[in-house]
Amino acid sequence: MTRFVLRRLLLLGVTLLVASVLIFLMTSVMPGNVGRIVLGPFASDASVAELNRQLGLDQPAALRYLQWLGGVLTGDWGRSLTLDTDVLPLALARLGRSLLLAGYALVLLVPVAIAAGVAAGRRPGGWFDRLASVVGLTFGAMPEFVTGVFLIVGLGVGLGWLPVQALPDEGAGLVTWLRHLLMPALSLVLLLFAYLFRMVRTGMRSELAADYTRTAVLKGLPRRRVIRHHVLRNALLPTITVIGAQLGWLVGGLVVVETLFRYPGIGSLMEYAASNKDVPLLAGCALLITGVFGLANLAADVVYAWLNPRVRHALAGA
């Protein structure tokens, strides 16, 4: 098991390296000019060229990459080209926020989706199954900027129950934070519910139809015990992989939700960096998000292996 984890971590390192090369390659062919972006359309070409020279952008991309890589390895992630700040503290603060929102959304989503999936899977075609499927799919098909606006206009502007902005004032307590984050988290839950719910439901249905389930029922085990000890263990395996895969998106891909609720996370920071060609900032954010994504998948695989004896034994033998 340890060897498995170590190998995966090594692989993650290679992934990060490849990702950083790709980022530099892509930014060097992306349209736009940093000097022009910073100074605006009405600066002279001479000023733009001078700024690019001062930022070192007149140097070849390969050289800039090596300098950046050397910096990252020694803990200096460089300075943003367009914002007056160093990359690492900014990106880390944003990552922390994104993790909080993603964690909050998952805490709300996972129990509800699993419970609903189990209940629906036990009686496929029943009223609850139909209701949950239709409601889930309806919200799942709606983009988050639509559900988000509905939530804001309804719960925020109209009823005044929840704050419109996700970012509380400085020094706010945990309860305030959770109140502020409820609406963005809800819009994510609504978006992801159908996906997770259907995974669990499908898993339940196939495992309930499996031979071992019939055996367990026939030898007289109570239904509750059959589900808890035999069916769920197997039915939830694919769901765990799916949650792991969603975490990367939940942390790094929430540009729309972050912008709509003004919750400055790492997704919108990366979007800003990409549209403004702020390469050190973009590379730093991408590195962190790729890292989170890789670790989340690794964690999902470890949990999967732990739950699945076949994989666990295979790894132990490796």
């Binding site: 733009v48 001078e50 549209s275």
Partner: protein, 523 residues
Amino acid sequence: MADRDSTGGAPLIDRRRRRLIQAMGLAGLGAGTMGLWPGALRAAADGEPRRGGTLRVALPSVKTIDPLKVSSGGGIAAIQQVGEYLVWAEDDLSLRPVLATDWQAADGGRRWTFELRRGVRFHDGREMTSADVVATFRRLVDPDNPTAAASQLPFLRPEGVSADGDYRVVFELDQPVGRFPYYTQTYNAIILPADFDGDFAANPVGTGPFRLVDYTPQESVVFERNPDYWDAPRPYVDRVECDIYGAAQPQILALRGDEVDMMLLAGPVDAKPLFDTDGVEVLTTPSAMTRQLTMRTDQPPFDDVRVRRAVALAIDRPTMVETLLGGRADIGNDHPVAPIYPEKVSVAQRERDVAEARRLLAEAGHADGFEIDLYTGRFVELPQYAVLAQQMLAEVGIRVKISVEPLNVYYGHWTEVPLGLTDWTARPTAGQILAAAFRSDAEWNAPHWRNDEFDRLLDAFEASTDEAERDDLATRLAQILHDEVPAVITYFPNGLRPVRSRVRGVSAHMSNYLDLRGAWLAG
């Protein structure tokens, strides 16, 4: 600080304006040429300002806040709380003395002397003197400093700025500039200490009404009242919290949800729902902002003036203004001398005439019309403008293909495209925009248009300090642009600034600058 200027009020501004007119050698003229805009100045009617409170402002994207490099609307608004200019152009384009109290032209507008306000202190306690002003302007025009200001002050060289004692600064210009005081309000030109180290985010020191206490990039800028501000009792609010937003929609939701007190600005499309929202007012002001539909005059098909005129004749201006802006704009006439400028321009208004446009196109050899690519940026109402223009041009046979690009991409090639739609910010003088957009050798002459007569008249216009002569020159310049049509200028949209009703002492601004020294919150 028993300064005679600290009293404020309208009579003072009138006196100042008179003095400006005298300074320009115009005594007896111009008294009626600059009217006040009713509605734009609400402060006067709101009674006694109330002290205290926190004003929450929604800012659009802020890139750098380094005063030398700043160019984003939010960034400019942020530095304007910390620092101040020598002068401030009011809504009616009169000049309010700020760090300069007086100014005189000599040598036909080639040499300008500014008297500085005495007793003004930087946020670190040091007095502002001529050394700081000289250093600020030298920094702005030093070719080693990348800044947009250099191109706004092309007639100024570092050695042209000098101090004459502690409270007087002399500008020696390469050419006469009759409206030079306005140019000193170039947005980068807040007066910084002479020893400014280049890192404004870490060490934000100016003379302004507020001190910057916290700046989190892409998130918020927080200011606190400067208790030693020279223009006591201003400012009135204790604290200004600016939240930075990535898009317009969340700002509008936050304003409606009463989580911010005001927005810096709103585009006409975004502001629509706010005009009938309870508790929200949209402040408006006439502006010299333009949208220029520029045509490459150096290549077919727009190298033929008849084709350009046909395009201008195809555009239905009143419909555009009504559809895109809800009527909140002045109609344009294919020249950038907006009605807000003091120069009186008399050029016959161009009206839509499809038959004439078709005739001109046929005469130019395009009886069956032609296809053309129109490029623009994804910004305010520009994409919708492009669609309307596409429909209107289709009626005269011009088939337009629209490319709406992210602004950063568009600005990468906006002076190269055959047909481009560009937003131009308002400048306080007509000369600035005429020179920036249409002088033959101007970098942003997107139509690549050359006209020696225009250049000659423009030189005279920029130098002139005689109002009657300025009117005449402006009319001739506008007439050339109207006839030659390097760009279709359909309208001058009003500046819009949505605020909660309790916000007082704030007005919209034609360049979306933010002056909060008089802002206060009603109970």
